[in-house]
Symmetry: C2
Subunit: 520 residues, 2 copies
């Protein structure tokens, strides 16, 4: 392609490709048609359609968590971006790199307050660390490079580029773009590493709290050896973008979701060393309960800055402590006794421990019903575990879709609560279209179970008419087998442990999307 | 209820009810549990659950368009609001009054950057004319009153109240609220009315362009008589919140969507008088096409301010012109010849002209496929016609749901394109749950048809692999009968005109939700 034939949209596409961003999750509209035409001229870019923007951004999140590089998204003006914001929120909390391209009216058309006009920056900023406009064809290349640089910065960020229609359709004088030099990750701060090591050696009750890149297999093994050597406790954040676990890997607990349990867990903690994690706080505030999960006088050492090379920091800490000769404690392969009778969340977890194949990717948005999974599957075949990181429900099905597209040779298992699954059920269609190798398990309890628990906590007693109408979703009962069929995904339903194990085994042994509606 | 027992959440609920806001569309979360408990203590408030926030806000829009008063919504923090923003955008463009209650963390919890924390104001402002926080229990009443006042102001506004959890759960010292005095609508500006009348009498080619409350039966009849008397043309905005039309009412054309057609339509227009309408502009900008649909030297007279009593303004204009003795031209009942053979969009429109019962509410998000409806149904039984006002697709099914809840004794017919229907298909579940009397017609063409047309316009030629993958939704084909069944709504599919007419007649003659998948 010669530069004389490029318009701004072509330049955007070529700049993304020059920097190895070759996946675009999209739901375009009229204002993005020139970018669609540019993508059509450039088959190296893979375009995946989502039938709702929450699917688009959630899939881009799942893709990046597994590919360790950003995908692009294509969204239609303010409302299209708005539909994708909840999953951008989750992606931002997971420190996922992402480059959003949001179409915008032609620059001169803004004065006319056309029906779809809105303040895109105001919408984008809460869920993006970087927001800029490309207002001319020539500016598109540089802006796109800045967006890619921003996406990779500080351990992963959401970059949102607002692309004016005339910047897309006008010809550019710029040539074919070259790959940009990205800022290298910071080397670990020796003083901070020493401070953490000194603290670990001080004989105090210490927790090493980790998230992000510290949850990969190699780093967890090193940190386990550090913990063994120093008597510290190794623990993961409550919700994490990606965690490597299962047989042959370090068994690591997570901070409990329930505030009272978490406070009890940290009651005797004198020091917390954070590695790519945040100091643990309550997901919500409750009357007469603390916001922080840590004791008031607990010392907190934040060992790494956001843009630090985490693997190097973990290695430096292990060096400083001296872990030679300390073996990591790795989980043995363990399969619990098979469950029988009426299907329960625990029965589902037991079947998963048996049948989830090695190297699977488990995406968890099972909310209240899936808490057994983590406890029961320490000794499952090794797998990556992806969570709802920002609490904005509706990420599960899109996340699984994107993870599968990043890793087509690995089985993806989605643990999906029914209430949150309904938020972005359109992802099933993309799974069917892209032949994603995803087994979706719907935990169908026909209620917002977590909220019924919370209602009890606020002392409201048994739910009356209005509360029941807002927290039970049993009238009518959702038929997930029909919903899946409606989007081209094969599905089956079961309410027994044996039936579930059979279905799971079958689904795991054949390729392509399959949904199991688990009545619990 | 005595004041000593009220908390902030009770006060909010009582303030809404004191001001006749007695409908709450909701999807609550943990931070809203005290408000849920308050709603549970107050059965006068009707709570309707949506399984996604786009359903919640779209239904509140449909409700208010038909009830001529605001509903409340209940949304969960920034991401819950974000999910509802696209339909708030549409509601804002329709000048729909609405009071959103967005739960927020307890005031003191904000410092902790808990996972669900985000900048709610930044998210809310683009789609709300009024945004405030209630940060203490005592402030809740006054803030809620301001929100209701704002919702009714300027012809209808979106008011978003951010409710801190501790403002909800703390006790208030305030007593039971009294109804507020709302600002009266402004009387029409006599000088503006005279200016419009003078212009109408000046012998120039004039269009009276109307929207909003000027599209009610009585006002249209008056305006038709004004137009007859003065030789002006009466025309409606392209997209309108609600329009009364059909047999026995004035037949009024709308501004065309396609820019070239609209420019041609206004080519000889010397003057435009706007009544609750906006000067017509292109939905999008296109290379070498104008943004405004009006000739450059066209005079524009904006006859009413936003907060004017539109009925009074229309009456004043008719008085000023003097329409005594001028009869309005009302459409006769007309039923076109029944269609036969393969089902087409036109065949659907013909069947609707036959079978939509008197006093029905027709909600239109049929996008490219439904353009025949308006043309063919001038002489249908009289009905209200509700449109996609802001171009943010995904309003159709929620809009129909809310309209039906506002008017349970009227049949609602939803004209729904397949692509946009997938955005908020969860509304079907609410229809089943609330036994809404809605017939949904899915125009299933298995593509984003409007975008395929736009792609052609940008000169991209026949779509290649990437464009096809983003604009066709035929692989796999969506099975809307299964999707409806999955949410408890009876459904059937047809691809013939005769089959469609039969299904429509049956669906219109029985109560409750029904979905017809029309293969076109």
């Amino acid at each position: 392609m010669t530069s004389s034939r490029m318009n701004g949209a072509d330049l955007l596409c070529e700049t993304l490709l020059a920097n190895d961003v070759d996946m675009c999750f999209a739901n375009p509209g009229t204002s993005e048609m020139h970018f669609v035409a540019a993508l059509d001229r450039q088959p190296r870019m893979r375009c995946v359609l989502g039938l709702f923007e929450g699917v688009v951004t959630g899939a881009a999140d799942g893709y990046a968590r597994m590919a360790d590089k950003p995908a692009a998204t294509l969204l239609h003006l303010g409302p299209g971006l708005a539909n994708g914001l909840a999953n951008l929120h989750n992606a931002k909390r997971a420190r996922t790199p992402m480059v959003n391209v949001v179409g915008e009216h032609a620059t001169y058309h803004l004065d006319y307050d056309a029906p779809l006009h809105s303040d895109i920056e105001s919408l984008a900023r809460p869920m993006s660390q970087w927001v800029e406009r490309a207002a001319s064809a020539d500016a598109v290349g540089e802006r796109t490079e800045e967006a890619i640089r921003a996406a990779y910065a500080k351990g992963g960020q959401i970059a949102t580029l607002i692309l004016h229609a005339d910047a897309a359709w006008n010809e550019t004088t710029k040539g074919v773009p070259q790959p940009i030099a990205r800022e290298a990750q910071k080397q670990p701060d020796a003083a901070l590493i020493r401070e953490a090591a000194d603290a670990l050696r001080a004989g105090k009750t210490t927790t090493i709290l980790v998230s992000g890149m510290a949850l990969r297999e190699r780093e967890l093994a090193l940190l386990d050896r550090v913990a063994s050597k120093t008597g510290a406790r190794l623990m993961a954040q409550q919700a994490n973008g990606r965690m490597q676990r299962g047989a042959g890997r370090v068994q690591v607990d997570r901070v409990p979701y329930v505030i009272d349990q978490a406070v009890a867990k940290f009651a005797d903690t004198e020091q917390v060393i954070l590695i790519s994690a945040k100091a643990p706080v309550g997901f919500f505030a409750y009357p007469n309960k603390p916001s922080s999960m840590l004791p008031e006088d607990c010392r907190v050492i934040d060992m790494v800055e956001l843009d630090t090379d985490i693997a190097a920091a973990v290695a430096a800490l292990a060096d400083e402590i001296g872990v030679a000769g300390v073996e990591p404690q790795l989980a043995p392969r363990f399969t619990p006794e098979a469950a029988t009778g009426k299907l329960t969340p625990e029965g589902i977890a037991v079947a998963l421990a048996h049948h989830v194949p090695a190297d699977a990717i488990v995406c968890d948005e099972s909310v209240s019903s899936g808490r057994d999974f983590f406890r029961i599957t320490y000794g499952s075949e090794p797998h990556d575990f992806l969570q709802l990181t920002g609490g904005a429900i509706g990420v599960g099905l899109p996340l699984a879709t994107g993870a599968s597209i990043a890793c087509p040779d690995r089985k993806v298992v989605a643990l999906q609560a029914d209430g949150s699954g309904m938020y972005t059920l359109q992802a099933l269609w993309t799974q069917a279209r892209e032949r994603c190798d995803v087994v979706t398990i719907i935990f169908n309890n026909r209620r917002y179970n977590i909220l019924l628990g919370e209602l009890k906590h606020v002392g409201a007693g048994a739910p009356g008419e209005n509360a029941s109408r807002m927290l039970n979703i049993d009238d009518p009962a959702l038929d997930w087998v029909a919903l899946a069929k409606g989007m081209g995904v094969e599905a089956a339903r079961t309410d027994t442990a044996e039936g579930f194990a059979d279905l799971l085994q079958t689904a795991c042994s054949r390729p392509g999307p399959f949904l199991i509606e688990a009545l619990i």
